[in-house]
Amino acid sequence: MVADLLIIAIGAILINNFVLVQFLGICPFLGVSKKVDTSVGMGFAVIFVMACASIITWCVQYYLLVPFHLEYLQTIAFILVIAVLVQFVEMFLKKSIPSLYSALGVYLPLITTNCAVLGVAIQNITKFTGVEMSFVKSLVYGVSAGIGFTIAIVLFAGVRERLESSNVPEFLKGMPITLVTAALLSIAFLGFSGLSF
């Protein structure tokens, strides 16, 4: 059991990293990675939302869609769940944990349309990891996918901060050099594919 969970976690964090290997959630990856501080905030917000989304979509799938044979409605149902969840979490945090809200608040609405979150929810169901996902496993998968996203965005933000003060050729300034960097980081993460079990 523990070994299974570990395999799922390492698989989601390193081998099938959501951003750098599966190319999901590129928008916030490029948009919120200018500074390490903000990227850490975004990363934690994603971890939080992915964990919640994994739990709820798993429940929706197995207690609502499967009994009525409505698996084909997966995508629309999950998007609905994620959007509502993010809104709810935002309201809840604003009231009860204002300090956490002020830290995450700006990034929470961005996650509503983050395809990485939908990706986690769908992969939980489609046996992407090659294992039948139980409730606990899908939770672990959600959390570790979030951790993978955080690692990727923080690493990338670190590189971009260094890029700020370096001599970039005129024609590569701005987004081009950022995309080149992202590609190199992605190639680096390909090295983990040798780890797959």
């Binding site: 609502l64 869609l65 409505l70 409605l73 609905l80 309201m91 604003k94 009231k95 003060s165």
Partner: protein
């Protein structure tokens, strides 16, 4: 058939309904009361989020205002007008705030300040500062790579002749540049005081003079000149007390280093650089020596005549003496002119060779 259409509609519709109700309830349950004045104040504030007030941004300042204990005149961008409007919203009387402006306390453009080395790294003050404190010999001067220009949200700073330059019409004294500058050479000072000592070097006069042509050497002439006693010398550096300064400008006139400058609407009036002493080639030195020797000969002859005349005949001597003196003066003037011409041509030569060097 009926089931396959109705059931999914019911399920998704039901989910939507449940979520909608949930969100509706949540928005009531988790509603956070916001002060009505916050949006009003936000409307008045410039919205630049520059942080000049000391808070994270305009909304943070508005929130702090409503919480209380914060003055209404903190916004440097809006100035008095905004302070009055905020005071109106808050129902208090505004306190007057003196208009401040950022000033770069350095005149050391590359032609005046001695350079240690040529920095070829990233065009950014922090990178230059990390490498031995920058290009300039002077450890206190403006590095001129424009990190302050990048942080200025109002386009008030530019780099002119290797030194940052503040446009006081655009400057709102938010202090972002002063914060960013690795040398801390930018100071926020009251606009009312027109004269500033544009040097931060606390080295002894000899060292400062060696490092820079326009550095404050702490001679104290300005402090003695000032009729109001507004200038004091501490750590080999003159400091003007803006509260006492009456903008008479005597200090700027007397300063031997031209380190005290007036601030005009266009910015600081910087002194013209002194022409650097040209380096001489051996041939030129020879020529100069020959010229000097010739001059000496000219001077020694009439001096000898003068002595003789004095000894022999008094009356004649006087007239002759006058003639000789006149002649002498004329000769000297001639020699001076010739010298000046040579000097000038030499200067041109040197500047040409320098240009060639730069081009290469």
């Amino acid at each position: 058939m009926f089931n396959s259409i109705l059931v999914p509609i019911l399920i998704i519709g039901g989910m939507g309904l449940v979520f909608g109700v949930l969100l509706g309830v949540a928005s009531k349950v988790f509603a956070v009361k916001e002060d009505e004045r916050i949006p009003k104040i936000l409307e008045v504030l410039p919205g630049a989020n520059c942080g000049g007030c000391g808070f994270a941004g305009c909304s943070a300042y508005a929130a702090a205002l409503c919480k209380g204990g914060v003055k209404t005149n903190m916004c440097p961008v809006g100035g008095e007008a905004v302070a009055n409007q905020i005071a109106e919203i808050m129902g208090v009387t505004a306190e007057k705030k003196e208009r401040m402006v950022a000033r770069v306390l350095c005149n050391g453009s590359p032609d005046r300040a001695v350079q240690k080395y040529y920095f070829d790294g990233p065009r950014d003050c922090y990178s230059a500062h990390k490498l031995g404190g920058g290009e300039k010999m002077c450890a206190y001067g403006c590095l001129g790579f424009g990190s302050c220009v990048k942080v200025c949200k109002f386009g008030a700073i530019s780099i002119k002749n290797g030194v940052a330059y503040v446009n006081i019409d655009k400057c709102v004294a938010c202090g972002a540049c002063a914060e960013e500058c690795p040398k801390k050479v930018i100071k926020i000072l009251p606009l009312r005081s027109k004269y500033t000592i544009n040097c931060k070097s606390v080295e002894k006069g000899k060292v400062t003079r060696h490092d820079c042509q326009v550095g404050c050497i702490g001679c104290g002439i300005c402090a003695k000149t000032c009729p109001k006693g507004a200038i004091s010398i501490s750590d080999n550096l003159a400091v003007i007390d803006p509260a006492k300064c009456v903008n008479c400008g005597l200090c700027a006139q007397k300063c031997p280093q031209k380190a005290i400058n007036k601030v005009t609407p266009e910015g600081l009036v910087r002194p013209e650089p002194k022409p650097a002493k040209p380096k001489l080639t051996p041939e030129q030195i020879e020529a100069l020596k020959a010229k000097k020797a010739a001059q000496k000969k000219d001077q020694s002859q009439p001096a000898g005549q003068k002595e003789k005349n004095v000894k022999s005949e008094q009356v004649k001597a006087d007239t002759k003496f006058n003639e000789v003196v006149k002649e002498n003066i004329a000769k000297e003037a001639e020699a001076r002119e010739a010298g000046a011409a040579i000097e000038k041509s030499r200067n041109e030569d040197v500047s040409k060779t320098q240009e060639i060097e730069i081009n290469e």
